[in-house]
Symmetry: C2
Subunit: 476 residues, 2 copies
């Protein structure tokens, strides 16, 4: 689908959409308000979040645990009454963590706490000992001559702080995503980074790094050889900063023994709320089922599955069927690089998607609405704004929705989207750490999310008007 | 000393003390106030806390790291100008952590995070698999018939919550201190407890348990066979509660491979600020140098050593020498059971101790003063109250000082004592966890502690009057 999409087609659809009568929403505002307010008493989102994290726990992409989670998801979606719950599998290489220890050999012998990054190479089983070289930013590493790095353990720090919109993840996240490949190309023996996080606990933040070789799940090109790559817990990074700051050479010993299995399998779990008019482009709401292996994936992203599924369930149970079909997708293998989203696009990219939206930023309250609707669909955006305002959600009319993580793949393919942005102030305290566990979920904020998604689905699944250009193969 | 102390002796000394003129403090209040206020700009406490945690890190009792910490302490005390810094060693059995993993085998396979308790027995290297039996209190375990426990992995939870005075540690701490021996006597294969803590991070709380056999460092009697004993991180304990709550039998596999070396060595580090009258009973201020092995022992108890040493240093540097000698003791091996305090009493119990006081409850602000002075020394207590009030510290005249952890051994032997109670609200979030690291120290609150201790030393080390019964062998 992505390959077949071109701009002239968009333009044609835009002109067509603008010519249609403006039908903001077929669902009366008071119906939406009633559904929204009832959702503030929701229990389904909690039950899903609690069940998945308790009965499955961690669900690393491509593992037996993720497969058990898919079976769990199908059973739950069926029990909730969704239509046609099913699994769509896809192949992937599977990276699994091994032993991981880090030791300062000199000048001040002690252990530090760290976690291998997804895709990390391995040290010899007996470890790797080398001198450390510290860089205070990604740019400083990039600027370093190869001779300053060759054969050494590179350590890169950064200055990430909490932000409500999580925008620092874009900036400082590159230390995790890019620095390992850069260090590898310069001949480093291994790389450590300050965890991409904002807490002060001995819980390191893992996450995928991108060698661009195809040896890891990352999709984009480049071709660096994987080297051992790990993130220090933030107190340990600060400890290392102090030790380096004493001005004496620092020698470290690392043991990291992850391994990569080329032929693994993941899958997306899909189910629907059938709409009254199957010819209309569908509404797709997503979350991801896989998690990193350190925690139980409560905020990332069991809660997201709980939220969108609970909201869709409320539409399923409402007196009138929605105009458009609502598809719920619990994506597999988001963490290694949106593999579930890519597999979904390969399989479903030809189907008309009227709007895509994903919940994948924790379980704290929604504070902002963003859309990317065409001008003719502005009344739908305004209907959303009115329905969400009582929940404390502001409509950022200048903002632009992306569709979320997995569904950004569809958004990039041109699908209209809605973002219900969650408060990110504490998200990167927990993200990708052992601390991503159920006790971090605030049930009241979780319910506010369900209410916001319920109101949003009530409006967009009943909107007759096109919300934007619907990629080729659609009926609008 | 403890053995030679009897009540009739106390009574005689009390009568003697009451007959003396009431000399509250030889140090004018404005001198004390000036010292106190200058201490609010202290850097010494931070430097000690930062240095010990950075250059040594964890300092488990009886290990090479604790020995390095003693050498570090002597060098630092010498550099600060204290008189006669020295090490007094003592023998002890040394318990060292090994591998530790916990896995739910059925019904919901997943790993849990835990840490062996100090003194834990070991599983076979390949682990131990058994059915779990849960108790919701120590009392419930005590009441259980042996048949309910035999051959099983016992799990005991509790209801600890944060308290400013840390008093719940006394109540719920018994789950760690006593439940393992009880479970062992009932024939349990192993025991897990909910960490004795108040946080929600994947950082388990270790700490000594008491078999009473002499096989571990714990001094009191009893004679249970050590079994594998570990504390689950609080989110993991809650996860286990949920899993047990599903009503299906729970099977777990534990691997815990700690080992015990009978002939180890620890030591106390001692130095003085010489007083003008060496015949007067001395003032002893303490802290402990050892730490648990999971964190770097910042709040427990590098900060305590920083605080009392910084305060003593301010008296050392003040224009007039104090009336009484101030002795600073950085105790070794507090954590396995006050071994440093006991060794100190064996060696120094015969010397007259005019007052003992210890800082071993973190680095948050002092909020309460308690003493155990005789009535004739009430003016000294009131002088302390006046000097500490501007720091936000209230004098609890009904309270009774204990002398702190190691020095409680001297307090129990009859020495007068002063407690400067620190705010404990977040202490048990960090206590005995990997999270006890430097970043948890608030420099402003640390300085408030130094100011409180400086004012206290200024008053008590210049008080000519006896503050209470001074045990036998004293000159008062």
């Amino acid at each position: 689908m992505f390959a077949r999409y071109d701009k002239s087609m968009t333009k044609r659809i835009l002109l067509l959409a603008a010519a249609l009568p403006s039908l903001a929403s077929a669902e009366p505002a008071d119906t939406t308000a009633a559904l929204r307010d009832a959702a503030l008493g929701d229990e389904v989102a909690w039950d899903i979040t609690e069940g998945l994290t308790t009965e499955i726990g961690q669900r690393l992409a491509g593992t037996a645990e993720e497969a058990r989670a898919r079976a769990w998801a199908v059973a739950r979606l069926r029990a909730l009454g969704f239509a046609d719950p099913r699994i769509e599998t896809f192949a992937m290489p599977v990276w699994v963590r091994g032993a991981e220890t880090a030791e300062i050999v000199a000048p001040f012998p002690q252990r530090l706490v760290l976690a291998a990054l997804g895709g990390s190479g391995a040290t010899p089983p007996t470890g790797l000992t080398a001198e450390l070289v510290r860089f205070d930013s990604l740019a400083a590493l990039e600027a370093a001559p190869d001779a300053a790095v060759r054969g050494k353990i590179v350590y890169v720090t950064h200055a990430m702080t909490p932000t409500q919109d999580g925008s620092q993840y874009g900036v400082y996240g590159d230390v995790r995503r890019k620095a390992p490949a850069i260090a590898s190309r310069k001949g480093a023996a291994a790389i450590l980074i300050r965890s991409i996080g904002t807490d002060h606990h001995r819980n390191p933040h893992t996450g995928a790094t991108n060698w661009g070789t195809g040896a890891t799940p990352s999709p984009n090109g480049g071709g660096a050889t994987p080297i051992p790559a790990a993130a220090l817990a933030l107190p340990d990074a600060e400890q290392l900063d102090r030790i380096v700051g004493r001005g004496r050479p620092v020698t470290m010993k690392l043991v990291l023994t992850p391994h990569l299995t080329p032929n693994g399998q993941s899958g997306n779990v899909i189910a629907e709320v059938p709409g009254r008019d199957p010819r209309l482009p569908i509404v797709v709401v997503g979350c991801h089922l896989d998690s990193w292996d350190l925690g139980t994936g409560a905020i990332d992203d069991a809660a997201g599955c709980g939220i969108v599924t609970a909201a869709a369930k409320r539409i399923l149970d409402s007196p009138s069927r929605p105009l458009r079909t609502i598809r719920v997708v619990w994506f597999g293998a988001e963490e290694p690089g949106l593999l579930g989203g890519i597999a979904y696009r390969q399989r479903h990219g030809d189907e008309p998607h009227g709007v895509v939206a994903e919940s994948d930023f924790g379980a704290d309250r929604v504070w902002r609405l963003r859309t990317n609707f065409v001008a003719s669909a502005a009344p739908v955006g305004e209907a959303l704004a009115r329905a969400l305002l009582p929940l404390g959600i502001a409509y950022d009319r200048e903002g632009k929705a992306s569709g979320g993580s997995d569904l950004s793949v569809m958004g990039a393919a041109g699908s209209p989207s809605v973002d219900l942005d969650q408060d990110g102030i504490r998200y990167f305290d927990l993200h990708h750490t052992p601390d991503d566990t159920l006790d971090k979920i605030d049930p009241a904020q979780l319910r506010q999310n369900v209410a916001a998604w319920t109101a949003t689905l009530s409006i967009v699944a009943n909107a007759a008007a096109a919300l934007g250009p619907v990629p080729a193969g659609t009926s609008e």
